[in-house]
Amino acid sequence: MITLKRDRRLQGAVVVCAALLLVPLAVHDTFYLRVLTEAIMWIGLALAFDALAGYTGYLNFGHQAFFGIGAYTTAVLMMKSGWPFFLAVAAGGVAAAIGALIIGLPTLRLRGTYFAIATWALARAIQQLALVTNLVGGPGGIRLTAYLNPVYFFYVMLGVVAAIFFVLWFLLERAPFGLKLKAIREDQDSAKALGLNPTLLKNLAFILSAVPTALIGGVFAYWITYIDPGSTLGDLVSDQALVMVIFGGMGTLIGPAIGAVLIFGFKTLFWTYLAAYEVLYTIVLGGVIALTVVFLPNGVLGLFYRSRRGRNAPSLLRPKTGMPEPSGKEA
């Protein structure tokens, strides 16, 4: 791919990943390693959320369901059936893909508002289900065999999230797929007239959002060694992912990554110094969402790439194409 070299954002991402590879050599304090591992995890979750939300305009308010499916599938397979770690995580991904199809096929035909309600309701239902089903441990959750190796998990998480980033980057920013999704987001009827099948594309995007989330959930389960409906199927996962994506800038992948780092950084500081005011955290999250929507509709990234070309500019970062620019002026 000749254009790979010229894409500065991709180069930036490669540099960041390479730098992160070296982190465990410099950082020996396990606390900081764990914090960084979690930060990387949230980047991955934000990216996966953006894959659907930013490119199709469909907001999955039940994003945590896939995180939980991945976590629980991995936990159950490892503890009850003795599966090895990576295989169990992969199985979680498959389960999420199936789940996405089941949920997506009926609901993605509908408009965004219905999808938002349906996913919100379904995720809470799944959480309730996990609370009452003994197979998955009910409210007590599942305890996994502890494998306490922070460096190992740092690399696993980094590997998974980096892979997610590059796959999503390729599919959504370089390949036709991403543009097709944006077409459907902008005007579905027009997209249909151009040969695009909206239902098919939306479902593919949904799967593309669900599977990475589940993979991350699976890694999370083994890393944390204990999961329960509250931590893996609770609101906090999707609430935070939503904030990170909106705050960072929807539909750009880079934006959500930046948003994830900023929000997670804030969260860590908050919990370190203001742990007594934990309930305030929800209020702050809500405030950030509300204020971002009102004042920063294109997120933090929007501040950097102020568009000169018109008010509606969700697609702020156009890929370099390698084609010669025309000599004409922009109107």
Partner: protein, 294 residues
């Protein structure tokens, strides 16, 4: 089997309250075209307001209804310009941004309630709380708890008032015009901004007021928000989004469903069952039972 009629009666009385929730929510959707994720939170805040006012003034919650209405209607009227700004298409999809915004509000309200009011569940005491009318005919025994009857009365009064407002006043005409054709309504002299502001104020006021009633008839806790949001979604999707005439049937159905679960099955499964039904409805007939939704 003797429980069946009682369950139905209780269901209808519960459902009548849900009618109000559904009408207000559907009205906001019809005019502002947003799904207010925070609908359950307005109810919750109203319930807490009613509870504290009752504690401080010792007045019966039903007497406090107008106060709560005015306070929350004012809040809604003040908030509406912000919502208008969000919905004015600064980004590609204003409707979705509207949902995200109200979702943010939900978090703010929930967090605030948890901070201010703590974890306990309460119930607002009322003069009506402990009475009941009993009806006996041989083995047939029905109880009509007075507080639930009061709730039913409330629902009847508000429904009648809203019906009058929408069908027999100029304001209502403006609202209906706005719901159908925003641009043309403007040309006909309907002040879009003001009417929209008033509709939203009406919605927040009514939702909060209904919260007081719910707090009296059932209970109040900071956790009740999402539950009533689900109820509101359920009723409105079942009725058809924006189709007000379908709300009574849908709300009563919900009330009866909830009642049956309380009597015959484990109430924990009520929410699960509701999600299931909601999902199936969206699958089969997303425009609602009557196929008149938007």
């Amino acid at each position: 089997m003797l429980q069946l009629p009682q369950a139905v009666i209780d269901g209808i009385m519960l459902g009548s309250i849900y009618i109000i929730v559904g009408i207000a929510f559907s009205l906001v959707f019809g005019v502002l075209h947003i799904i207010d994720f925070a609908v359950g939170e307005w109810i919750m805040l109203g319930a807490f307001a009613g509870m504290y006012l009752n504690l401080w003034t010792r007045l019966d919650p039903f007497l406090l209804l107008p106060v709560v209405f005015i306070v929350f209607a004012a809040l809604g009227y003040l908030l509406q310009p912000v919502i208008h700004r969000v919905l004015s298409g600064v980004r590609g999809n204003p409707l979705l941004m509207g949902i995200v915004f109200t979702f943010g509000l939900t978090l703010i309200f929930q967090g605030s309630a948890q901070t201010a009011f703590g974890f306990k569940t309460h119930s607002i005491p009322s003069r009506f709380s402990n009475g009941s009318f009993d009806f006996e005919h041989g083995d047939f025994f029905l109880t009509f708890s007075t507080v639930r009857i009061a709730g039913l009365m409330y629902a009847a009064v508000i429904t009648a008032a809203l019906n009058y407002l929408l069908k027999h006043t100029n304001f209502g005409l403006g609202v209906r015009a706005l719901a159908q054709r925003k641009e043309i309504a403007g040309l006909m002299g309907v002040d879009g901004r003001r009417t929209t502001g008033l509709v939203f104020a009406l919605y927040t006021g009514i939702s909060a007021m209904t919260g007081v009633v719910i707090g009296t008839v059932l209970s109040v806790s900071f956790r009740m928000g999402p539950e009533y949001s689900i109820f509101a979604f359920f009723v409105v999707v079942l009725a058809g989004m924006g189709y007000l005439a379908g709300v009574p049937a849908a709300a009563l159905l919900l009330g009866i469903l909830q009642s049956f679960f309380l009597v015959y099955a484990n109430p924990t499964y009520t929410l699960l069952a509701m999600f299931g039904v909601l999902y199936l409805i969206l699958l089969v007939s997303p425009r609602g039972l009557f196929r008149k939704g938007m």
